[in-house]
Point group: C2
Chain length 217, copies 2
């Protein structure tokens, strides 16, 4: 497992620190609000209350020995900039920040941030891509414009049939890379039999994936 | 293409409406701030200035004929609830909202929202998953815990080799579903030759994908 510093425990920072902790990594969570640190200390055992713009305080807890830090400060943009540049000066290899606007993103990049996220913008774009993709696509990873790995419900007319008999690559140009739901199968073999309620993870063009819904073997 | 209503043009709502428009769908964008609507009218031709809690005003523009609406109001939670329940009463099939907290999410679900997003929470969890996944994973879609579709840089020692000669499924248990970068190939054939600078989209366990980095044919 790795080690991460997370500065700022708002909705974004807290969810990040919690998920990293649940995945088994060690997280040094920092927030200037002592009451908040107290409240989360059960779930984030390494949480520390300090002002991250205070270089002395950061050195005392050994922040410079961490390979990756995330700065999750929103409203107080001056703190956001100060903390980001301090962490880079202390020698942290990868400093990831979040910004509220594109202008803020540019400024944080100038002071040395390795990556700057715009959570609200990205969430809007992601929802648009999901709404715009065809059929009942549940999850989608765009491989290139118009081609994706998409997860769709298994159409009723395909339940009970084996992949080798359906030959989806030949008839539709799509390949099943996983079957999810009641059972979880990655890279299913030719004899795999589809069942009602399955979710199929497919690779192909969005048009071909959309045709699956109404295609009959 | 489909038709969408987007109420609220903050960072989330504006990015959503813009991306849907760019993907060729028609968007009825609504915001109570007339100055803002004026500013975005170049990129969002269908933008309208009105208070979406006003049922008469919504009927006048025919909102009930749209299949999907997204409510992207943040600070004013009362408006958020009122607009969400109004749109459901007007008969819109799919109403998607965003909330700032889990409590707000529960309330919006009670008034009939079909889906409620928590953009900041989801962005935190998504970054945690990316930071926690092994190797230089660029993009990752979890198929099941520990198994994913991941995009990784093509290791130097594999450049110049054909997929049939590498036989990655046999040696590592991973399958290449796409090659990206200079050329974009989905479901590459056995004769595909990998090149330095390629990005490989693989299906397999996180451990097996991580081994690719240092594996020698
Ligand atoms: N100098 C600082 N040192 C440490 N923590 C700080 C500092 N400045 C702000 N914070 C903390 O950062 C946290 C997140 O900041 P803020 O609430 O402004 O962001 P936000 O964008 O609203 O968060 P989110 O959208 O993730 O909920 C707060 O809990 C705040 O106490
Ligand atoms: N009743 C209403 N009718 C139409 N628009 C509204 C209404 N109430 C608020 N809005 C608009 O919704 C937009 C987004 O709201 P707000 O700025 O509170 O959300 P936000 O959570 O800060 O947004 P984001 O995080 O996406 O930037 C604003 O532009 C505001 O004018």
């Amino acid at each position: 497992p790795s080690e991460f510093v997370v500065v700022g425990l708002g909705r974004f920072g807290y969810s990040l620190a919690l998920k990293l902790t649940q995945l088994g990594h060690s997280v040094l969570a920092i927030d200037s609000n002592a009451r908040l640190v107290q409240e989360v200390s059960g779930e984030l055992p390494g949480a520390v209350a300090l002002d991250a713009t205070d270089e002395e305080a950061l050195r005392e807890i050994g922040v410079e020995y961490f390979p990756t830090a995330v700065v999750a400060i929103g409203d107080d943009f001056e703190s956001n900039i100060l903390v980001t540049s301090l962490l880079k000066e202390l020698g942290i290899g990868q400093v990831i920040c979040k910004a509220s606007t594109i202008r803020q993103q540019k400024i944080l990049q100038r002071v040395g941030a390795d990556a700057v996220l715009l959570p609200e913008h990205e969430a809007g774009v992601r929802l648009a891509t999901e709404l715009a993709s065809p059929g009942k696509v549940l999850e989608r990873l765009e491989l290139q414009p118009g081609i994706s790995v998409s997860e769709v419900p298994c159409p009723d007319q395909l339940a009970g049939k084996r992949l080798v008999d359906l030959d989806l690559p030949k008839h539709l140009g799509v390949t099943v890379v996983a079957v999810r739901g009641a059972r979880e199968v990655a890279m299913p073999g030719p004899d795999e039999t589809l069942r009602a309620g399955d979710r199929l993870v497919l690779v192909g063009t969005d048009q071909d994936i959309a045709r699956l819904e109404t295609w009959h073997p």
